[in-house]
Each structure stands twice: as structure tokens, then as C-alpha cells.
């Protein structure tokens, strides 16, 4: 659970990309949030809303156009060279969406996992080998797989390798960008359980990017909702899903409710090149007023721990309640049986 000292904080992050024709695409526009120690912050939004760009700036893969990134109490926005490697690269790691393309197909699993140690000159060869073995056991991989190539593993096993690689240098923050999007539901459940176990055992913080709302609801303590480069709502996950304040968040959470309570947005997400004036969501918002066209709504606290960027927070309410959509009754044959199979 989150404590009061955040492990990472971003302030007013902005990212511009130059595009052909001398124009500028503002992918991220003034995003501020913090990730608490031992906390999972879920970051949701449509594709193109800037969530991956925010994550890349947080982990210092992209340099922000404006704004700052604080990590473990230090400003890391402009770090370079050895300081960057020591303060950032060893303490933050990323788990990628596609386990098949984020692993080198010609590298054996053992080498994949030993590489971060080698690059950062941690221990000598023997100690590294033992560390790899321990980590493989920790993520539920048979250490005998160390000699295998990624293509010899299943999707779920490859994602376990991706997670193990992220953990090799003992980081405090993991940025996970859709880590289970390419997995089947039954395998996804195994990986999600693993991530939660690791968080509990190692005190990890997660920034978890996804557009699977059920998954966010299940595993994040707090949720941040992005739309077209701006943060529109942040708050405790259960609260946001129960009583969303921003109309876009209301639409998102309504997707988890009974069909008659769903609110579908009008039209399509505008292009980030021609963003609407004022509130970026107004072109699709059912409760937009003249004011939304003029004034940019600031992200302000509307309740303790809740922030929303809307002139009329809480006015668009989805009906129904936030509840698991389908909780199946057990078939008559599924009940405790005597002798059971192993795994």
C-alpha cells in the first residue's frame, strides 16, 4: 500500500514532437502525478493519449520538453552518463508489452538475465549465475530453462523472463507497458498474480499502463486517466470506478456496467495535431458548455486524494453500480474432489 513518501513524481511534463511541415505535435501536455512506495498506479487512456510517452519520460528514455522528473528524492530530469546509470538505470526498469519482440531471439534466457548485471558490473561471473538462478525460481521459471532460447518458451514464460530481467538489478520502480496485452486470459492471470506477489515480497512500486479496465480495477491502488495528452482524473481506483468525476472517466468506467448504463462517446478522438481549444474532451463530451471551449480546466483537487480536470466534475454519472460483470455460478461438477492432479 502507498505510504506518504512517493518514490517518483513528475511535474508539468510536456513532450513536443516536430512533425513534417514545421508543425509541432504536443503528445503530452502538463502531466503531474506521483507514484507511492509499494503502490501500483494504473495509467489508462486511448491509444494516442500519451500514456506511453509519459512512461518513457519518467524512466528517462525520452527527454521532456518541459517539466521535471523526481525519483527517490532527487531531480533526475537532466542526469547524464554515470549518474544516470547509477541513479536511474539501476533503480527503475521496464516490462514491455510484447515478450516476443523485447527479447533477443539469439540470446539464451540465462544470458538475457545476466546482461543487466554484466552491464552494471555487479558481482563476478559465478555470483551472476547464482543470481540468475534465484531470480528464475522467484518468477516461477525452471532454472533449467537458462539454456533455452526465447522461441522455445510459451508466451507466459517469455513474459516471466521479461519480468525477471526487469528485477535483476533490484529496482524500486517498475514501469509495465501493457505487460499482459498479448497473453490469453488464463495465462494473464498467472502473470498478474506473479506481479502482485513480487510487489508484496519486494516492496516494488508499479506504473502500470493498460487499457484493460478490469485489470486496472483489479490491481492498481490508484488510477490516472489520460486523454489527448492531458491528465483528466487521478484518484483511488475504487472511488474513480464507483463515482467518476470527469466525463471521460465516466465513459470509461461505464463500459464495465450493464449495457443500458453504458455511455458511448460521440465521434472519434481528435488528432493530437489539431487539439480542441479549452478542454480537450469537449468535442466528444455530452455535457460540454460554452465555457469548455474557452477555458482549459485545470487539474484540481475535488476531494481528498482526488483530482479532476473538468469545469463540471461529477455531473455526468453512469447509472448502475461498479460490479464484476459476470460472476459465473459453479457448474454442478466443480466442487472439492478427493484426489487431485498436480500442476
Amino acid at each position: 500500500m502507498s505510504t506518504h513518501a512517493p518514490v517518483a513524481r513528475v511535474n508539468g511534463l510536456v513532450k513536443d514532437f516536430r512533425i513534417p511541415g514545421g508543425r509541432v505535435l504536443r503528445a503530452v501536455d502538463g502531466v503531474s502525478f506521483e507514484v507511492g512506495r509499494g503502490e501500483t498506479l494504473g495509467l489508462v487512456g486511448e491509444s494516442g493519449s500519451g500514456k506511453s510517452t509519459v512512461a518513457r519520460m519518467l524512466i528517462r528514455l525520452d527527454r521532456p520538453t518541459a517539466g521535471s522528473v523526481e525519483f527517490e528524492g532527487a531531480d533526475i530530469t537532466a542526469l547524464r552518463g554515470a549518474a544516470l546509470r547509477r541513479q536511474v538505470r539501476r533503480r527503475m526498469a521496464m516490462v514491455f508489452q510484447s515478450s516476443s519482440t523485447s527479447l533477443n531471439p539469439y540470446q539464451r534466457v540465462g544470458e538475457v538475465l545476466a546482461e543487466p548485471l554484466r552491464v552494471h558490473r555487479v558481482g563476478e561471473a559465478g555470483a551472476r549465475g547464482r543470481a540468475v538462478e534465484t531470480m528464475m525460481e522467484r518468477v516461477g521459471l525452471d532454472p533449467a530453462f537458462a539454456g533455452r532460447y526465447p522461441r522455445e518458451l510459451s508466451g507466459g514464460q517469455r513474459q516471466r523472463v521479461g519480468i525477471a530481467r526487469a528485477l535483476m538489478l533490484d529496482p524500486s520502480l517498475i514501469v509495465a507497458d501493457e505487460p499482459t496485452a498479448s497473453l490469453d486470459v488464463s495465462v494473464q492471470a498467472q502473470v498478474v498474480n506473479l506481479l502482485q506477489d513480487l510487489q508484496r515480497d519486494l516492496g516494488l512500486s508499479y506504473l502500470f499502463i493498460t487499457h484493460d479496465l478490469g485489470l486496472v480495477r483489479h490491481l492498481s491502488h490508484r488510477v490516472a486517466v489520460m486523454y489527448l495528452g492531458r491528465l483528466v482524473e487521478v484518484g483511488d481506483t475504487a472511488q474513480v470506478f464507483a463515482e467518476p468525476a470527469h466525463p471521460y472517466a465516466a465513459m470509461l468506467v461505464s463500459m464495465r456496467r450493464q449495457a443500458e448504463h453504458r455511455i458511448l462517446p460521440a465521434g472519434e478522438i481528435p488528432s493530437p495535431i489539431d487539439r480542441p481549444s479549452g478542454c480537450v474532451f469537449r468535442s466528444r463530451c455530452p455535457i460540454a458548455q460554452a465555457r469548455c471551449e474557452r477555458d482549459v480546466p485545470p487539474l484540481v483537487e475535488i476531494a481528498p486524494g482526488r483530482r479532476a480536470a473538468c469545469h463540471f466534475p461529477g455531473e455526468l454519472r453512469p447509472g448502475g453500480t461498479d460490479a464484476p460483470v459476470h460472476v459465473p455460478a459453479a457448474p454442478p461438477l466443480v466442487a472439492p474432489l478427493t484426489s487431485q492432479k498436480g500442476r
Binding site: 491509444s47 494473464q188 502482485q196 487499457h211 478490469g214 459476470h326 459465473p328 454442478p332
Partner: protein, 350 residues
């Protein structure tokens, strides 16, 4: 409060021309095997299901379950070398006995396919209008170019594309994912199909766009009477759209029935385990993962394919292969013990 996307009424869309008697799609004991370096792989193992006229049926399963293969087999679009046995009747035509020419006509007109990735279904260097006109005129060669353009314009408006004439001049890279999928659906509709086969039509899309596309499919079904088959891995997504649900596992149909009934009270342990594994179903705490993996197509389990992962496996399950059979009115399950803990039926025949 209820807000819908800006869509005109479907009055602008014309109902399908075809639509004779019999089921829209009837698969019976369909077996598909693909050659591989180490012998043939059995991808489908005796798949039987029907899609009635005007019905929406979802074929659900995880990767490798055979849901996409079933859809491709229905149109005989399997890779070369695939061996197909059994019987497949699509819109009254015996697909396996059809000559190539007739098959092409069927695919262009009465039975259309919508793919997962709209970008790959559109030619990147041709204008959208030209592609849709081509689709309309291939289905109906008697259609004049002007009439085809008019049909395309109406259809685009009907699927909720704003300003159709402008969109027809665009190239595929100029439109968003949600619009692209609408356009691909419109491309199928201009052929006035009786059956629409969709392979994961919303997987590549965002949550809200997903809901819009499914709403569109539902509307096409209700207002035009088009029969729709949707292959999907996401049970949540199709819950409100599909009338009936066919659950597949390792190339077999394991359960079938009305969607709401199957989701609320499954009769096969796989369906139950799958529903419980979804993050939405966990009330806090851990997700209930299904341990292990499905058997590979090269393996030939002697008994039930799910036995190794089943929470209530019985000795007989490892030796006897269960056939789908009716366990309740309108409900089928391929589990030897679907009735519960009574005496286990010896043969497990249909």
C-alpha cells in the same frame, strides 16, 4: 443518460439480397489438419455448430483453440495443404464441394469476412472510395459505377462515418482505427451479404471504440437481419452482442448455449475457469489462473483435452473423449460429468 455515437438510422442501408432457407452456417464434424515437418497437426477436431438466420453467434476461445480456423474454414480460406473433412454449409452452399469460381462469388457477395486489423484489410495506396466501389461491383457486376458510388456513400453514412464524400477521397492512413474498422465493415456491407464473419473485430481497438463497433454490428443484425459470427477471445466484449455462445478449447467445441445462460451458469469446467480467470471476476485478492497450458495440436490426448487442467477431473476423463451433448434444453457441453456427481456415463455419446 444515454448518448450514442452520431449515426444515422439504418434506413439508408439496404437489407441483404440473399437469405434463403436453412441455417446461415452449419459446421458438422469439421476436422482440419495442417501438414508440418513432424506429421500433420490437427487444428480442428470434429467441430459442430450452427448459426441460424438472423442470429449473432460468438465463437470464443483462447489462442490456439481453433476459433479463427473455424471461421476461415467456413470460407475455405485455409492455407494450402490444409485437409478439411466433415461438412460446411454456408448460406445454403456446400463450401467443401464448391468449385473455385463459385467460392469466389460467395466470398465476394453473400458471406463476407471482417478481419481483426482494419489497416491490413485496406489497400494503403488506394483511396477508400475506390476500394469500396470495387467491393460493391465485384459482388454485383451489373452495378454501374455511379450506382456503386451512391451505394457506398449511403453505406458509409449508415455505419456512422461523418461526411462520406470526403472520406471516400481519403487514403487509409488518414483515418483513425475506429473509423477504419467501420469502413471495413461498410466494405463488407456494400456487397449486401447474408452472413458476416468477423475474426476478432474489436481486438485492435480502444475500449470505447470497441463498444461503438459492437453496437454497430448489433444494429446491422437487428435492422438488416444479417447473420453474424464473431470469433473472439474476450468474453466480456461479446456478452451483450451475441445471442449464442460457442466455447472452443484445443480445437473442439466444449460448450454451447444462449450467451447469458452460459456466462451465468456454465456447464463445462473450462468455461467456468476461464470466466473466473478474468480480472473482473476477482473480488480483490488473487486472480484464479488456470494452471498449465492447452495441449499442442501435435498431441493427441486420449481423453478430455482439458483433463490435465480441470479442477474436477475424474479418472474416466483421462481415458474417454467426451462428445458435446445436450445437458439442458438448448445447452450442450462436452464434459462427461456435466450432470454433476451422479453415475458417470460410460460412453459419453451424443
Amino acid at each position: 443518460m444515454k448518448i450514442r455515437g452520431a449515426v444515422k438510422t439504418a434506413a439508408t442501408l439496404r437489407p441483404p439480397a440473399g437469405g434463403g432457407a436453412g441455417a446461415a452456417l452449419a459446421m458438422r464434424d469439421v476436422e482440419v489438419s495442417l501438414p508440418s515437418a513432424r506429421g500433420s497437426l490437427r487444428i480442428l477436431r470434429g467441430v459442430t455448430f450452427t448459426v441460424g438466420r438472423g442470429e449473432v453467434v460468438a465463437v470464443a476461445g483462447e489462442s490456439g483453440s481453433g476459433k479463427s480456423t473455424s471461421i476461415l474454414a467456413a470460407l475455405r480460406l485455409l492455407p494450402p495443404g490444409a485437409r478439411v473433412t466433415g461438412s460446411i454449409v454456408l448460406d445454403g452452399e456446400d463450401v467443401l464441394a464448391m468449385p473455385r469460381r463459385g467460392l469466389r462469388g460467395l466470398r465476394a457477395g453473400r458471406a463476407r469476412l471482417v478481419f481483426q486489423d482494419p489497416w491490413r484489410a485496406l489497400h494503403p495506396m488506394k483511396r477508400i472510395g475506390a476500394q469500396l466501389v470495387e467491393s460493391a461491383r465485384t459482388a454485383d457486376p451489373g452495378l454501374s459505377a455511379a450506382a456503386a458510388r451512391e451505394l457506398v456513400e449511403h453505406t458509409l453514412a449508415g455505419v456512422g462515418i461523418p461526411d462520406p464524400p470526403a472520406r471516400m477521397r481519403s487514403y487509409p492512413h488518414e483515418i483513425s482505427g475506429g473509423q477504419a474498422q467501420r469502413i471495413v465493415i461498410a466494405m463488407a456491407l456494400v456487397a449486401r451479404p447474408a452472413v458476416l464473419l468477423c475474426d476478432e473485430p474489436t481486438t485492435a481497438l480502444d475500449v470505447t471504440t470497441q463498444a461503438q463497433i459492437l453496437e454497430l454490428l448489433r444494429r446491422l443484425n437487428r435492422e438488416l437481419g444479417i447473420s453474424i459470427v464473431i470469433a473472439t477471445h474476450d468474453l466480456d466484449v461479446i456478452a451483450d452482442v451475441a445471442d449464442r455462445l460457442v466455447v472452443m478449447y484445443a480445437g473442439e467445441v466444449v460448450e454451447e448455449g444462449p450467451t447469458a445462460e452460459v456466462l451465468s451458469a456454465p456447464r463445462h469446467p473450462y468455461t467456468w475457469s476461464l470466466l473466473r480467470a478474468a480480472p473482473g471476476a476477482a473480488e480483490g485478492g488473487r486472480l484464479r489462473a488456470i494452471e498449465g497450458r492447452p495441449p499442442s495440436p501435435a498431441e493427441e490426448p486420449a481423453g478430455c483435452a482439458f483433463a490435465a487442467r480441470c479442477p474436477s477431473v475424474h479418472e474416466i476423463c483421462t481415458t474417454t473423449r467426451p462428445e458435446p451433448r445436450h445437458v439442458l434444453p438448448g445447452r450442450a457441453s462436452a464434459c462427461l460429468r456435466a450432470e454433476g456427481y451422479g453415475p458417470v456415463p460410460a460412453g459419453g455419446g451424443r
